[in-house]
């Protein structure tokens, strides 16, 4: 990819980064990786919706 594209401000697949969301949560006493993974997977669904509105419809 070209230079500008090498460092996107927000990664593809991301609407609300986990780093931002985790600050809103109390301390995760259980499996933090599980919470992060599922957050990122569902966040990616919204990303898919937005970008397919642009590209596919």
């Amino acid at each position: 990819m070209t230079k500008q594209a090498d460092k996107p401000k927000k990664r593809p697949g991301v609407c609300i980064p986990w780093d931002e969301k985790v600050k809103e949560l109390p301390e995760i006493t259980g499996d933090a990786e599980l919470v992060q993974r599922v957050w990122e997977e569902t966040d990616a669904l919204a990303y898919t919706y937005v970008w397919h509105c642009l590209v596919s419809f």
């Binding site: 990819m1 070209t2 990664r11 697949g13 919706y49 937005v50 509105c53 590209v55």
Partner: protein, 398 residues
């Protein structure tokens, strides 16, 4: 799946994928991109297949069952107006609503001064493309979605929920449709995954073609930066919608970023540097890209020839397919070349004559897939499509 259907699927799959990789299969594969033609054949109106995607799936299956085709698209009437209406999308004319029930859906490009993205928004798009689309673009293109900070409405919330749920329902349907085509018809799902060039997206959905033309003259650096910002996201969309088995190609729908719509210099300095890396990235991940070159892109064959061997399939619309073959046929498979005008207004004899010319001139060493030049709507005559199919089956044997 019945054993004979399974065997038929395997035979067609081998034929199609061999040709995709510029190889020579047993016969010339047939892979028509049939859109509203399926409605005509199955006895539906354009409205029915555009408003009800299950009818579109049924129509595609009926065609696949009746015609001896190797591959088809699960639904080539790709814009489901049920979804766009649920979201309040402003830029489609839907058959049976804004236009007659027997006309294919139409994209409505806004006037230049009403472009969905004004030129002062370039920096916002470049800074955060996803945020811009969600917070600025979606509210502009929808009659119901509102921008953050604006008074929220029930219609806003419903439009977002309905749009998301509708998209999930529709996309999920393609998996079922692919299985149905295989099990009921022995037919391959021809493509998976979608890609458009950054510059085409800027023209199609953001600035409009006229607005982009002005930008290319007045603010070319912003245009380039915007294309670079869109690049990784468009690659990601292509990758995440592609065939998990990496057997059938991602399709890149190519619109107005070629000469004479833009200049050679604009192609070489903006379009190609922001498009070529995406194709190379996808190839690096194991995916071919079909360049569905709508109109005439032959002025840029030298650029396409820079791509790795077999990384693309070049689809001919108005290009001279024999010239395309002479310049890049040694590197890439080619599809298309049967003019839609002949399928719509010609005779079966004229169709057969054209098929013969293409098979003799382009397909003799393999690496060719029979298809119309452009997506086949309800103007294509059934007897002509039958003639194209039957002749290719009989004559296109290696």
């Amino acid at each position: 799946m019945a054993k004979d259907t399974e065997a038929l699927y395997a035979e067609r799959f081998s034929r199609y994928t061999t040709a995709l990789r510029n190889g020579r299969p047993d016969k010339v594969p047939i892979r028509p991109f049939v859109a509203e033609f399926t409605a005509k054949y199955a006895g539906y109106t354009c409205q029915e297949v555009t408003q009800d995607f299950q009818k579109a799936f049924d129509a595609a299956c009926k065609c696949a069952a009746d015609f001896d085709w190797d591959a088809v698209v699960g639904n080539m009437v790709y814009v489901w107006t049920g979804l766009t209406q649920a979201m309040g999308t402003k830029y489609y004319a839907a058959p049976g609503v804004e236009i007659s029930a027997d006309t294919g859906f139409q994209y409505l490009e806004p006037p230049e001064d009403e472009a969905f993205m004004p030129p002062e928004d370039y920096d916002a798009l470049i800074e955060d493309p996803t945020g811009y689309l969600l917070n600025v673009w979606l509210p502009r293109i929808s009659s119901d979605i509102v921008a953050p900070g604006e008074p929220n409405t029930e219609r806003n919330n419903l439009a977002l929920v309905k749009g998301g749920m509708a998209m999930m329902q529709y996309f999920s349907g393609f998996g079922v449709q692919g299985q149905r085509l295989r099990e009921e018809c022995g037919t391959v799902s021809a493509i998976a995954g979608i890609l458009k060039a950054p510059l085409d997206i800027l023209a199609d959905k953001l600035r409009g073609y006229l607005g982009l033309c002005t930008d290319l003259m007045e603010r070319p650096k912003k245009v380039l930066q915007a294309c670079e910002a869109l690049q990784p996201h468009l690659a990601h969309v292509a990758l995440t919608s592609a065939d998990p088995a990496k057997q059938v190609p991602i399709t890149m729908w190519m619109h107005r970023s070629c000469v004479p719509f833009i200049s050679f210099d604009q192609f070489d300095t903006i379009y190609w540097p922001t498009m070529k890396p995406i194709i190379e990235t996808l190839w690096g991940e194991g995916y071919q890209v079909m360049l569905y070159a709508e109109g005439k892109w032959g002025a840029h064959l030298d650029r396409f020839a820079e791509l790795p061997d077999a990384s693309i399939i070049y689809h001919c619309d108005k290009d001279d397919i024999f010239e395309v073959h002479s310049k890049i046929g040694h590197k890439f498979a080619i599809s298309g070349g049967m003019p839609n005008t002949v399928l719509a207004f010609g005779t079966p004899d004229e169709v057969r004559e054209r098929c013969k010319a293409i098979i003799d001139g382009v397909a003799k060493d393999g690496g060719y897939i029979m298809d119309a030049s452009a997506i086949m709507q309800n103007t294509a005559r059934v007897e002509n499509v039958q003639a194209m199919t039957d002749f290719t089956r009989e004559y296109g044997v290696y």
